[in-house]
Amino acid sequence: MSESISNGAMVELLGVHKWFGQFHVLKNINLSVVKGERIVICGPSGSGKSTMIRCINRLEEHQQGRILVDGVELTKDLKNIDTVRREVGMVFQHFNLFPHLTVLENCTLAPIWVRGVPKKDAQDLAMQYLERVKIPEQADKYPGQLSGGQQQRVAIARSLCMQPNIMLFDEPTSALDPEMISEVLDVMIDLAESGMTMLCVTHEMGFARKVADRVVFMDDGEIIEANEPAVFFSNPQSERTKLFLSQILSH
């Protein structure tokens, strides 16, 4: 299955198209992410950025083109989908923690049931990651008892417990109160510095400047431009990018 397309890319999107009914939501997307690369994807709402990263772990199905994740192509083959999902972690805008399970159980569920890790080991691993996101003391609480920022950090720890090679972030700070954004970003920065391959849909331009290797700007279902942050912010190429940047950086 693993016919390597190029240079050992971790994520490879080739001419990807997707429609929601008549609506053409992704138009000829080409993107290649190498190991350890940090990509920030931004753009106005409805531009298809969330849809694009949701295609990478098949929460959305693309209809044309090819998507390869660590050499495995996403097709209708359920085995490939399972393989990819095991390797790709995802953090959602609304956390999507399991409210009926404790923080620790949230973190150990997938390692135990998907990877077959013994319960004790899964718990040790979970505590390790909960420490990394700085909330080991909340392990026995339920998600509903935590603040938004804490919940999102649990969600990150839960993904990390599967020890993924790639992490997807879908607007991880958009649902948070302003004072909680930085605690989540700190965790993400820490993760980026550890060499994780990351694709983040976010409007946090400070985060983009600080850790991104490339900033991808999407509008109307297309990738308009992609560049390293310094160039992207100081010298945007397209009019649409300029307009977008002026709108979000004006205040």
Partner: protein, 378 residues
């Protein structure tokens, strides 16, 4: 009636911490017993009027009722003649007939068997009510318990006299039809509910057709079909037990209703829960079992218990196909000429039994909801 001040505590005020010594205290009419009376019984002139009317009605109804129920009633063993003279209820009828009402036509000398069986089942139910015991061994215990139950009821082993199941009746039969009905229908209904939401068209269509067909007909007609039409299709000589037929009809009926209750819970689940589970690599069944069902079933507890309660009472419909459940065996008991005028007492007696069971179910569901609700607040 005293005119009370217009100030009323709103519910939001009740949640605030107690005022310190320097803060003004709430007006006297808003707290204490007086406050309670004001808030609940006399909050407006219309409520006050209703309160007074209700008190008058109680005054009219309660004393004669208590007289009939207790003071003028005939208690304990007595001849029918004694009841005729008394102006109150004839509880002597119950005293005389309670074995017949509770156990139907089950042989008199063997009635200790269903008695022990029921005590065992009630014990098992009590055990199952504790969430700490929700383990695999409880299932084994139930299977063992049901086996013991059938050995006790049927007999034919261990020197117990054989009792054919057309003699079973009364409370044991009602209890059995309900318990086995629910125990089998519940898992079936989970699969039906999941099947109805399946993306596989064949499975979905089968489940939809089953649910809609069964829900579209009354339980009575299902019982009739199971009892009278089924034998027409079976080859001659094949006997299909009557109790079993009624049991199957009850299971089919309740599983369709339960499936819809559970589907309601499934539909309330946010899409994000599925997405998070899929993103972690959980399979369909793992997602359902670990993530979706525990939450969806908790949401549907009120409607599930509603169906449980309904089913418990609906088992009285098996009378229509000749099974003497609690209701029918009571009616058979009062068929006795000497006692037949005291049917009201008979109905009251079984009404109390039905009520106690249903009330317990309702209370337990409340308790379970709050227990499972711990930590669920989002």
């Amino acid at each position: 009636m005293r005119r009370l001040s217009a100030s009323q505590p709103s519910s939001s005020q009740l949640g605030t911490p107690p005022p310190s010594a320097t803060m003004p205290r709430p007006p006297a009419v808003s707290i204490g017993p007086l406050g309670w009376l004001h808030q609940n019984l006399f909050s407006s002139w219309f409520n006050a009027l209703l309160t007074v009317l209700a008190l008058l009605l109680l005054y009219q109804v309660l004393p004669p009722l208590i007289n009939w129920l207790a003071i003028n009633a005939v208690w304990g063993a007595a001849e029918p003649a004694a009841c005729k003279e008394a102006s109150g209820a004839c509880w002597a009828m119950i005293h005389e007939k309670y074995r017949l009402i509770l156990f139907g036509r089950y042989p008199y000398d063997e009635q200790w068997r269903p008695m022990i069986g029921m005590a065992m089942l009630v014990g098992l139910i009590g055990l199952s009510c504790n969430r700490n015991f929700w383990r695999i061994w409880l299932l084994d215990l139930w299977l063992g318990g049901l086996m013991v139950w059938f050995v006790l009821m049927w007999g034919g082993w261990f020197g117990l006299a054989f009792v054919p199941n057309n003699l079973w009746g009364g409370l044991p039969l009602t209890l059995m039809l309900t318990l086995i009905g629910l125990a089998v229908a519940f898992p079936v209904s989970i699969f039906l509910a999941l099947g109805r939401r399946s993306t596989l068209p064949i499975i979905r269509i089968i489940c939809v057709v089953y649910i809609e067909l069964i829900r579209g007909v009354p339980l009575i007609s299902l019982l009739f079909m199971a009892s009278f039409m089924l034998p027409l299709f079976l080859p001659t000589g094949v006997h299909f037990d009557e109790v079993l037929r009624a049991q199957v009809a009850i299971i089919m009926f309740s599983s369709a209703y339960l499936a819809e209750a559970i589907r309601g819970g499934l539909q309330a689940m946010p899409q994000g829960q599925y997405e998070a589970a899929h993103a972690l690599g959980l399979t369909y069944w793992q997602t359902q079992r670990k993530i979706i069902l525990p939450q969806a079933l908790r949401i549907s507890i009120p409607s599930i218990v509603n169906i449980f309660i309904g089913l418990f009472k609906d088992t009285s419909l098996v009378a229509i196909v000749g099974l003497s459940d609690l209701l029918l065996s009571m009616r058979q008991a009062i068929a006795d000429i000497a006692w037949r005028r005291y049917f009201v007492e008979g109905y009251l007696f079984i009404a109390v039994i039905y009520f106690c069971v249903c009330f317990f179910m309702s209370k337990y569901s409340k308790h379970l909801e709050s227990q499972l609700g711990a930590g669920h607040r989002r």
